[in-house]
């Protein structure tokens, strides 16, 4: 698989994306402070996100009591499940170390 040219192209694209990210961070952090236009562009982008994205949905969730109840019940069910999983993983780890001895 790793020797296929199409897969090599994908790896190169992924690599380029990470180098782009690293350079974007360096350029942005070293750049001079954003001017008013850029700040306004960002703020309007955030406002659009509030209106049209899942962020807006999560805001409306706050006023939806029925949905909040479902989320609470789901988290009540999930949290013990995660704790049991962690305990099971610990048991398995201990058992494996005992077998190794």
């Amino acid at each position: 698989m790793m020797q296929k040219p199409w897969f090599k192209i994908i790896i190169w694209l992924i690599t380029i994306s990470f180098f782009f990210l690293a350079t974007a961070i360096i350029i942005s952090s070293l750049a001079p402070s954003p001017d008013e236009d850029k700040s306004m562009l960002y703020m309007s982008g955030m406002m659009n996100a509030m209106d049209s994205s899942l962020m807006g949905l999560s805001m409306s969730m706050e006023s939806d009591i029925y949905l909040k109840t479902i989320v609470k019940k789901a988290s009540d069910f999930t949290l013990p499940f995660i704790l049991y999983s962690m305990a099971a993983a610990l048991l398995v780890k201990l058992r494996r170390s005992q077998i190794d001895r």
């Binding site: 990210l21 961070i25 994205s53 077998i99």
Partner: protein, 160 residues
């Protein structure tokens, strides 16, 4: 052609993480907005959807490791993203921090500003560290970038 599970997870994970980082960086502040042309709405939606995929991939990976542990399977999983040592352990720890801080940001955004601010700070700084670590990881595994050489039939015959 048999493709290994750890190989699939590795590359799915990589693609999802690069897109998450791209959409996340665009939302850091006005300095970073140019990365996605200040389309914060698109960045927000894609970041949340990809975060869900990222969490699912993490739980699949943890489940796979647990099953391997139960079966006492000690075979090498060279491509796997999580593990008990080296870069796999680093990825595992940072992923858990990303998920926990991401959940805090998502859940506490309207309720607890102090928790959200702290989680945002950790989430952002950890992104920089992990991206730098990925660059280092690419450098260490740069042989994967070498283009496959064409095998010339005539040449291979003369070699024989």
């Amino acid at each position: 052609m048999k493709i290994r599970f750890d190989f699939i997870i590795h590359w799915l994970w990589t693609i999802v993480f690069s897109l998450l980082a791209l959409s996340g960086i665009a939302m850091v502040g006005p300095r970073y907005g140019w990365v996605l042309n200040y389309d914060i709405g698109a960045a927000d939606i894609s970041h949340r959807v990809l975060a869900a995929v990222f969490v699912i991939l993490t739980f699949i990976s943890i489940g796979y490791e647990v099953i391997r542990a139960i079966r006492n399977d000690t075979s090498s999983q060279a491509w796997f993203v999580i593990g008990s040592g080296g870069y796999q352990l680093f990825t595992y720890i940072t992923t858990l921090i990303f998920i926990i801080t991401g959940a805090i940001i998502w859940i506490c955004m309207d309720a607890n500003m102090a928790a959200t601010a702290f989680a945002l700070y950790v989430h952002e700084k950890l992104t920089y560290i992990v991206i730098l670590s990925v660059i280092w990881h690419i450098y260490m595994k740069c042989h994967a970038l070498v283009w496959p050489k064409k095998v010339q039939q005539g040449k291979s015959k003369t070699m024989k």
